[in-house]
């Protein structure tokens, strides 16, 4: 597995939830830099900038609260998955809803997986351990090969990606 600082983005309007998840992830020993986005409009702007700046490396993982007051999470997901520059960014969505149709629509919109938002410290600890074990110690991620590294102020130092970000979804050669 690739040993480097992981770039994580959390899009959530609840500071307490963010803090609990952030501390739980830190307790796993994961080396990560976290970008926090509180509002839907900021999330839209973030993805627009990421889409237009081909030198900025994609984050390793985005954790998205689907129930932000000023954002339709499903619409945002569809926008991301229809953008060739963003299509491969892994996104975990969390939702408090148990509605099967809602969860299915998340997967149809292109989420990598949907999780229940942790409501206790123990839930958050389990989630953080599982993200570290599965996402960063077991999976192969598209970002593993960007060979780029972001500094802690969020600026990109280099990007020598092996593939262009413009490979369209669904194309089979």
């Amino acid at each position: 597995m690739v040993l480097r600082t992981r770039e994580l983005v959390i899009i959530d309007d609840d500071d307490e939830d963010i803090l609990v998840l952030q501390e739980s992830l830190a307790n796993t020993g994961l080396d990560f830099h976290l970008t926090i986005i509180h509002k839907g409009c900021e999330a839209v702007r973030y993805f627009e900038q990421l889409s237009h700046n081909s030198l900025e490396p994609n984050p390793d993982l985005i954790i998205l609260d689907l129930q932000l007051p000023d954002l339709n999470g499903i619409d945002l997901l569809r926008t991301i998955r229809n953008d060739p520059a963003l299509i491969r960014i892994p996104i975990i969505a969390y939702t408090g809803l148990d509605d099967g149709k809602h969860i299915a629509s998340c997967y149809k919109a292109g989420i990598n997986c949907c999780i229940k938002k942790p409501t206790t410290i123990q839930d958050a600890t389990n989630l953080a351990n599982s993200i570290n074990d599965f996402w960063f110690k077991t999976l192969r991620l598209p970002s593993d090969y960007q060979q780029s590294h972001s500094t802690h102020n969020g600026t990109s130092e280099q990007n020598v990606g092996l593939l262009p970000k413009t490979m369209p979804r669904g194309v089979v050669n």
């Binding site: 939702t95 969860i103 299915a104 997986c113 949907c114 490979m167």
Partner: protein, 166 residues
């Protein structure tokens, strides 16, 4: 010993684990390498979760299975698909494309489980909508760890789409 029962001409079903749940998790493994099938079964048998493992050996049958077309009309829809990239009849890229471009199939989570650690394969799989990409490890213990980590994440942390809401 493994416990096998035929449910179709090219599929094998195996229930593993010790914990009983109301609705056992169903994993569809699309894999033609018997040694890898054995290792995956073995790892799942040692898991704490109850997993109903359905095994399909080629891409054509995989699509028939998840569409519940004959001879798989009575097949249990999977909660997770483990798809090897190197399968006969219909290649895995075509299978992944059909799953992720068909609105009726798109919500099935697909984890690529392959020996390929080639960057173009990883990028291509995510571009085509795979939910996660795992390379098969070398060594029995590491294989077991990887399979059990996949299980733990997808079946204890993740909310899966219900089989009736697809």
């Amino acid at each position: 010993m493994r416990e096998n029962a035929r449910i179709g001409p090219a599929s094998t079903t195996l229930t593993t684990g010790i914990l009983m749940k109301a609705m056992p998790i169903t994993v569809l493994l699309v894999e033609d390498d018997e040694e890898d099938i054995f290792l995956i079964k073995d790892a799942m048998e040692k898991s704490k979760l109850t997993v109903n493992l359905e095994i399909i050996h080629n891409g054509e049958d995989a699509l028939l299975y998840i569409r519940q077309e004959e001879p798989f009309a009575q097949a249990k829809l999977p909660d997770l698909i483990l798809l090897d990239l190197n399968i006969p009849k219909k290649n895995a890229w075509a299978v992944l494309k059909e799953i992720k471009t068909d609105p009726l199939l798109r919500s099935f989570p697909v984890t690529i489980l392959t020996t390929s650690n080639q960057d173009p394969d990883i990028q291509r799989a995510y571009d085509m909508g795979c939910n996660s990409y795992v390379t098969k490890p070398v060594g029995l213990k590491e294989f077991q760890r990887v399979i059990q980590t996949i299980e733990a994440f997808w079946f204890t942390i993740v909310k899966l789409p219900s089989r009736t809401s697809r």
